[in-house]
């Protein structure tokens, strides 16, 4: 069974420590929710897992199926099955969705593929892309548009899920994929995730909201404070946090709560 193992992960951004020892194990087929107040390190974990060069791993390891990927580039991790659905996907003008995706999918399906080697056959690719777009209720005209160029917030999020559906990762991190979406759009995204998560894919959902978790019920809920996971529970923990906020969490973990609030003051002061 495929496993994503994060051991004592410490991450700095521009020299400033953000993650201070994160331990987490996700198996394929599992849904994990990651919650926590702003600035607790959730997005940092997401970027560090995906391999953003600005997020420097100072200690600890990330393993996919026992393969240590800590030192690997983002594209090598992606080929091994890591996927991040971005909170704010960037625009790439002039690059058509279909051209980009055909390239990406070819690399994912043949991790040994070298630059300039054959891409996935056009006919197969088109057929598959059309099917996935229909499942996500997307106009197939999107395939010809420039990547995220002129897309609405909801369209961008759907595009992220479409990429996930095409790339078929082993592990997907959804970074606030539900933020800024109306409830119909959240439903479409949730259905997309459900269709894929099944037994094949492990999911880490980073969210402030309850809606996505209603449709994609997590087996595990983790709460982050000051760059550490301070509590892990089941779906009821997520429900409790939605109902009561983070006050009780802070009470139970006064040390981390103090660290978190002093860091936030510091970052506010530096603005």
């Amino acid at each position: 069974m495929a496993t994503l193992t994060i051991t004592d992960l410490q991450v700095s951004v521009e020299g400033k420590p953000i993650l201070k020892g994160v331990n987490l194990e996700i198996k394929e087929g599992e849904i994990h929710a990651l919650m926590g107040p702003n600035g607790s390190g959730k997005s940092t974990l997401a970027y560090a897992l995906a391999g953003h060069p600005k997020y420097e791993i100072t200690s600890g390891t990330i393993e996919i199926d026992g393969v240590n990927v800590t030192e690997l580039d983002a594209n090598e991790r992606a080929r091994l099955g890591m996927f991040l659905a971005f909170q704010y996907p960037v625009t790439i003008p002039g690059v058509r969705v279909a051209d980009f995706l055909r390239h990406a999918v070819s690399n994912r399906r043949d991790p040994e593929r070298k630059e300039g080697e054959n891409l996935m056959p056009m006919r197969d690719f088109r057929k598959e892309l059309k099917a996935r777009m229909e499942e996500l209720g997307m106009d197939t005209e999107f395939a010809r548009r420039y990547l995220n160029d002129g897309f609405s917030g909801g369209e961008k999020k759907r595009m992220e899920i479409l990429q996930m559906a095409m790339l078929q990762p082993k592990f997907a991190i959804l970074d606030e994929t539900d933020s800024g979406l109306d409830s119909d759009a959240v439903k479409v995204v949730s259905e997309g995730v459900n269709r894929l998560s099944g037994p094949e894919m492990g999911v880490l959902i980073i969210t402030h909201h309850e809606r996505l978790l209603e449709f994609n019920k997590p087996q595990f809920t983790h709460v982050m404070l000051a760059g550490k996971i301070v509590e892990t529970g089941d779906a009821s923990l997520a429900a409790e946090l939605h109902a009561n906020g983070y006050a009780t969490i802070r009470e139970r973990h006064p040390e981390e709560a103090a660290e978190q609030s002093s860091e936030q003051e510091e970052s506010l002061a530096s603005v």
Partner: protein
């Protein structure tokens, strides 16, 4: 017969795929190195030209010697004009069948894919090899409709009246130092005449190949699109990767008469040791449309600013320009639009990319003369810089002598974004693939204007430029 002697070519020029060359042992004629009156008389004599052309050449030579090199733009002071061969003739005559072209030369064009392209999608082809055109063809039905497509030397002999009416009138010898040089030693180039109302559906292609070392290629092109006619002309250029530099200095003169439409597409891919100093100008008359599509990827230095003079009301001009400067290259490219009549409009879209310490720039002129009321001009130039060593410059010149004119100028410079790279890489693309994709996307608005075959070619060339870009 040797086709490749890689020992003499410069390995530092990298993996430029057209860097091979043929032996010059079997050439029919080679001039001595250097430039003076004797060389000019020799060229004119070999071509058996009328007196007026010899006089024209000698006058131009005087202008060339009397003019200083331009002090702006790229650094051309390094060119030693006495260390160049001004005339090299590889074969006796121009052939109408590839089978009759000497084997070495034919093989070269095979490797460049010209005969294959001709079969598939071209209406006519001219292949120039060093100083002379070695092959020419034109579809039979176009010939029957009165279309002329020949090399410029033959045009002087066979169509003297129309030739003399236009030759040197759009770009006089005194226009600039390099136009004077071309006027003195010109050889080869294309001559096209499209009669009134004739539409040429497929492109006419010319392919310019420099083969010899220290060669100067000075083709001279003259194109006349008569009233209501239309055509598309495409030129490609490559050269071997010699250690010594070569010079390419062309003059292209175009007339588009009332209601005509003409597009001139260049895919310039000279080896990185060629100085490319070209003067191109079109005169567009009433309600006509003239378009330059100008892709500059190769050469050591390019200075080229295709111009359109909008001569009568309703004339429209458009220039789409792409420049890619890699290591050791300086692309000083641009466009000129001169509004000489009321109700004329022009549009310039320029995209430049610099990488590996290369320097790419846009230098342009938008001019509206007195009396040219109600003109519209729009210039958009975007630059993409791929690394901190590279450079981009924008020099837009605007001269407007009327008030009721709409002028728009937009310029942007961007660096390749770390977040864009990460986004694509997080989907499994290598850094090189991701950069290439961003660059391809950057020029996509221009590339999509090209016929499919050329768009594919352009994207392939860009990918080659991007290869090995990441350490």
């Amino acid at each position: 017969m040797s086709t490749e002697t890689p020992s003499k070519t410069d390995p530092s020029l990298g993996d430029y795929q057209y860097g091979f060359h043929d032996s010059t042992d079997n050439y029919v004629f080679k001039s001595r190195k250097g430039l003076d009156e004797e060389i000019v008389r020799q060229i004119s004599g070999i071509k058996n030209e009328p007196q007026w052309m010899l006089d024209f050449r000698l006058n131009a030579l005087e202008i060339f010697f009397s003019r200083p090199a331009p002090k702006w733009g790229a650094d051309v002071d390094q060119i030693d004009f006495q260390d160049i061969y001004y005339y090299m003739k590889a074969s006796d005559k121009q052939e109408k069948s590839w089978d009759d072209v000497p084997e070495d030369i034919r093989k070269t064009y095979d490797r460049l894919g010209i005969p294959e392209a001709e079969k598939q999608y071209l209406a006519g082809v001219k292949a120039q090899y060093d100083s002379e055109v070695v092959y020419g063809s034109l579809q039979e039905d176009l010939e029957k409709q009165g279309v002329l497509f020949t090399d410029t030397d033959s045009a002087l002999r066979e169509y003297p009246e129309i030739f003399r009416e236009y030759f040197g009138t759009i770009i006089p010898s005194a226009d600039n130092k390099f136009a004077a040089l071309n006027s003195a030693v010109w050889s080869g180039g294309s001559f096209i005449y499209v009669p009134p109302g004739v539409h040429i559906e497929f492109p006419l292609q010319a392919y310019f190949r420099i083969n010899s070392e220290n060669m100067g290629q000075f083709e001279r092109t003259l194109i006349i699109i008569d009233e209501g006619a239309s055509a598309h002309y495409v030129e490609g250029c490559t050269a071997p990767s010699w250690t010594e530099e070569s010079l390419h200095s062309a003059v292209v003169e175009i007339v588009v008469k009332r209601g005509g439409r003409f597009r001139y597409t260049t895919i310039q891919n000279w080896a990185n040791n060629v100085y490319n100093l070209v003067t191109k100008r079109a005169m567009a008359y009433g309600d006509s449309l003239m378009e330059w599509v100008d892709g500059n990827l190769g050469s050591k230095i390019t200075m080229k600013y295709p111009a359109i003079y909008l001569m009568e009301p309703g004339a429209r001009g458009e220039t789409l320009s792409i420049a890619f400067a890699n290591k050791g290259q300086h692309q000083d490219a641009g466009a000129k639009m001169v509004h000489c009549a009321p109700n004329t409009s022009s549009r310039v879209v320029s995209k430049s990319i610099s990488k590996g310490g290369g320097r790419a720039g846009y230098r342009g002129l938008a001019k509206v003369v007195k009396g040219a009321h109600n003109c519209k001009s729009s210039v958009v130039c975007d630059a993409l810089i791929l690394d901190p060593e590279s450079r981009s410059d924008t020099y837009p010149y605007i001269e407007v002598e009327e008030d009721d004119v709409t002028m728009e100028h937009e310029a942007s410079v961007s660096k390749i974004g770390e977040e864009q790279l990460f986004y694509l890489m997080s989907r499994g693309l290598t850094e090189a693939e991701a950069s290439a994709m961003i660059v391809t996307g950057f020029i996509e608005p221009l590339v999509k204007e090209l016929p499919m075959e050329y768009a594919v070619e352009m994207n392939k060339l860009i990918e080659l430029q991007m290869e090995g870009s990441v350490g």
